[in-house]
């Protein structure tokens, strides 16, 4: 079935996930990078995807962005199957990642204009003003992205990510190169955006303070599997740890006896 473009926005139901991942696998030859993970993200929800470097976070996000084909499994973005209707599904999402800055040889305005066309943004002028306001980018409007600081480039990437008002927002370490004051503002902006637009957000970060502040749920990824899931404010005490960071270290550093040490909840 061919879906019309631009895809008419269906009313959101709080019970219907904006992102549904079922049995997702990615193999590189004999190496199983992702081993059949399943999860859902609901409208307005911010879900943290946690794990050590190499756990499979970026591989998962790449598959959700349609730039890496899964070996098996399915991905639905706003109920549109990504593998069958790639273009329509990708119109429902957007992303920002520290390793994917916008082209440095175009200005902030030029980059946002080009990506607005690519994402089919209807009210570009209004959206431009909105994202420039949100990320304090007005003074850089006509500056080439390549001469901005890394933090400013990250904010431009976030502006691009919010420009299309995506139903699903994928953020791979969005505040990695941002100073603490700006990072707090960015967290506030994204939380407000998710609540207003009822956008589901999948957020990776190594900053556990940040995760506790913004995420209502976290998924711990370890060697391509989701090994733990829950509320980041309650999980540490449930597993006898004082902080989320301590739980993170426990989960990711004790793989050999994890069944005994952390999967079994303390009485």
């Amino acid at each position: 079935m061919t879906l019309p473009y631009p895809l008419a926005r269906q009313p959101l139901s709080a019970n219907a996930p904006v992102l549904r991942v079922e049995n997702l696998c990615k193999h590189y030859g004999q190496v199983e990078a992702i081993k059949g993970i399943s999860f859902r993200v609901f409208p307005g929800e911010i879900v943290g995807l946690l794990g050590v470097n190499g756990a499979g976070k970026t591989t998962t996000i790449s598959m959700l962005l349609g730039v890496l084909e899964p070996t098996a499994g399915s991905i639905e973005l706003s109920s549109v199957n990504l593998l069958r209707h790639r273009s329509q599904a990708l119109a429902e999402t957007n992303f920002a990642a520290v390793y994917a800055p916008l082209p440095g040889n175009l200005t902030v305005y030029q980059n946002l204009r080009v990506f607005a066309l690519l994402y089919g943004v209807q009210d570009f002028s209004a959206r431009l003003q909105s994202v420039l306001d949100a990320f304090d980018l007005h003074r850089f409007r006509d500056t080439k992205c390549g001469v901005l600081s890394s933090g400013e480039q990250t904010r431009v990437g976030l502006a691009k990510a919010l420009l299309s008002r995506p139903r699903v927002l994928l953020l791979d370490e969005p505040t990695a190169s941002i100073d603490p004051a700006s990072a707090r503002e960015i967290r506030t902006t994204i939380r407000r955006f998710a609540a207003q637009e009822q956008t589901g957000v999948l957020w990776t970060s190594h900053n556990m303070y940040e995760v506790e502040e913004v995420c209502s749920r976290v998924l711990f990824l370890y060697q391509g599997e989701i090994v733990l899931e829950g509320d980041p404010r309650k999980l540490p005490s449930e597993y006898g740890k004082p902080t989320l960071e301590d739980l993170f270290i426990l989960v990711t550093r004790q793989p050999l006896n994890r069944e005994q040490s952390w999967r079994a909840r303390p009485s």
Binding site: Y5, Y28, T58, T59, S62, L65, G66, V67, L68, E69, R86, S87, Q88, L90, A91, T93, F95, A97, Y99, A100, P101, L102, P103, G104, N105, L106, T107, Q110, R113, V114, F115, L117, L118, Y119, G120, K160
Partner: protein, 267 residues
Amino acid sequence: MNPARIAAILLRQLYLYRGSAARVVPLFAWVTIDMVLWGFMTKFLSSLAHTTYRFVPALLGAVLFWDFMTRVMQGVTTAFFEDVWSRNFLNIFATPITMSEYIAGLLLSSLSTSLVGLGVMIAVASAAFGLSFAAYGVIALPFVFVLLLSGMALGVTAIAIVLRFGPAAEWFIWPIPALLSPFACVYYPLSTLPIHLQWFARLLPPTYVFEGLRAAVAGHGFKGSLLVTALPLAGAYILLAYGIFARVFRHALQSGLITRYSAETVS
């Protein structure tokens, strides 16, 4: 196909050309030098030969048409390289743009830059060396169209090679026109080649174009059979090139090359 997404690729190119003399100058500088060099060469040969053979339309015209085809190919590859050089694959291919829209954007971008080069070549060849397109008649138009299709097919094949083998493979693709020119019979009739090479030459649509143009200049009129062979052949090469790119793109999605393109290979 979504016109807005094709327009996004064109707009990006326009922004890049608007702000960069390093991109604008090559549009006309090298073709102007070629016209001047071959213009004087043609005059010299005319003075030696003492025949009625019309060197200007036959030889200088051939250089002009071959340069046009080369510019078309390079227009496609250069537009693609803008994404390679700015490490923009992830941003571009995570949008709703389809592969055919992306290719269409590159082809239209190439068409616009190549027409600038063609205009400059015609102006220089006409003003400085008296090249008159009346020598070819209206048959020049469909033959130019065949060269346009051939250049596009070469360009799409070339970007497939670069996508498959990494950015360093650009050194494979720049010499492609020079490698083909001896067999495309740009400067001499097909009968000049040994029989076994004539078979290879007949597989190249430009061979028919240059045979047809030489026949027109020699007063033998329009040979429709040449066009009837060249046009479907060029169309077939466009389809073949698209198929090759589609296959390479799919491989890049499966292997993860799109997300790790700077590594050149993921194997």
